[in-house]
Symmetry: C2
Subunit: 243 residues, 2 copies
């Protein structure tokens, strides 16, 4: 029997986006509830996720209004834990991980390795204004781990769900030159990534993952671009004021 599943998410958050991609691909029915991260509902931490972060899932229990979570549902958190959870739930109906242990290990290694290179480096670029080209080593790691064509480990899997939101958000930032970094440096890197033969594998991979319905239905480029542009203006003004 399929139990009720409610996802607490936020359009802006790459960690939450991971779980939306996996849920869409799984075909499992679920409700989605947007959490405004700048004004979290006061019931969210005590009733859903004590760490007060998205994503979180309420699973099982009665079918209630997501804004009034039931104590009878199980609450789960941490985006990669949720990806594995979704893959476990849909294992027999729509596999989101290969069945071969070696391929599963490669999927998990892909996530661990790409995100450990990408995460904190990109944070520094976007929020502290480090040079955007600092992301290139992470892109090279990604390209080296990808097979010659297709997804991370054969069919689309939670490994792709885990990584795609970060590439997508980096592209929105760079394309719009919308980060704390020096003006012009984002667009310049974006053009390189879009044209240099060296990054052909990245482009093809991104075309593959972003061409899927799961992505189109869960990614809000204009919404993100607007927020990034506003935030970049604030960060750059703060930087100038400090000089």
């Amino acid at each position: 029997m399929v139990k009720q599943l409610t996802l607490y998410s936020a359009k802006v958050c790459p960690w939450a986006h991971r779980t939306e991609l996996a849920l869409k691909e799984s075909g499992l029915p679920y409700k989605r509830y947007e959490i405004d991260l700048t004004a979290k509902p006061e019931w969210y931490a005590p009733k859903v996720n004590p760490a007060s972060k998205v994503p979180a899932i309420a699973y099982g229990g009665p079918d209630v209004d997501p804004a009034e979570p039931s104590p009878d549902s199980v609450k789960l958190a941490e985006s990669y834990v949720l990806l594995e959870f979704i893959a476990d739930l849909s294992a027999s109906t729509k596999p989101l991980l290969p069945s071969d242990p070696v391929a599963r290990a490669k999927a998990r290694f892909f996530v661990e390795t790409v995100i450990s290179k990408w995460g904190s480096v990109w944070y520094g670029i976007q929020n502290r204004g480090d040079d955007p080209s600092g992301i290139l080593p992470a892109i090279e790691v990604l390209q080296n781990l990808l097979p010659a064509e297709g997804y991370a480990v054969g069919d689309w899997s939670i490994a792709d769900a885990a990584v795609t939101p970060f590439i997508a958000r980096a592209f929105v930032s760079l394309k719009n030159d919308a980060g704390a970094y020096a003006e012009g440096s984002g667009k310049k890197l974006y053009e390189t990534l879009q044209s240099d033969p060296k990054y052909a594998r990245l482009r093809q991979y991104y075309a593959d993952v972003s061409g899927r319905d799961s992505f189109k239905e869960t990614f809000f480029e204009d919404y993100l671009a607007e927020r990034y542009i506003q935030r970049a203006a604030t960060l750059r003004a703060e930087k100038k004021a400090k000089v």
Copy 2:
């Protein structure tokens, strides 16, 4: 058919210890090869793990001398990836994770949460000389996530494998007062952890996990104590020289 499995490990390393616990519990046949982390064999990075860390596994291919790894085996790395790999390999013969998706998510959440609180804090205590009592919040997180009795999620699982090596090493350090921290502060905290009713759950959990054969066969307390004591003397001397 069971394929050959070779584990590259190091007695001193908690990340490697995780995989030894899981392999022992799995009942899978394997070879173990000790890597001297202070003098790694020159073939290790190019032929086994480009990141040059332990643990790593060579799986499949011909049954060769571990010091002459075959290009025909698959090489896998990252300790938590390897724990899931071992659990996948032994799923039908000796389950090392529960089968229920919610219980599996709780196991993974346990690891993620405890290690993210424990890892870097303990590193600061042991190597930079931060006050050992800084580990208490991580211990409280661990105690709060544990059920009233038994292991992290029912039967012993890879969640216990992931966490046990860190508790074991902290105890060796504190008991011997063997870290970069102020002399006496380790022993003092150790006595508190061994006697204060507040830490009864930690003590019982550690008695349970360390009482298993898998632990007794893979943990080398005297060896670790000796190394920690030597290293602490060096770190404390360096600290004094700086003052």
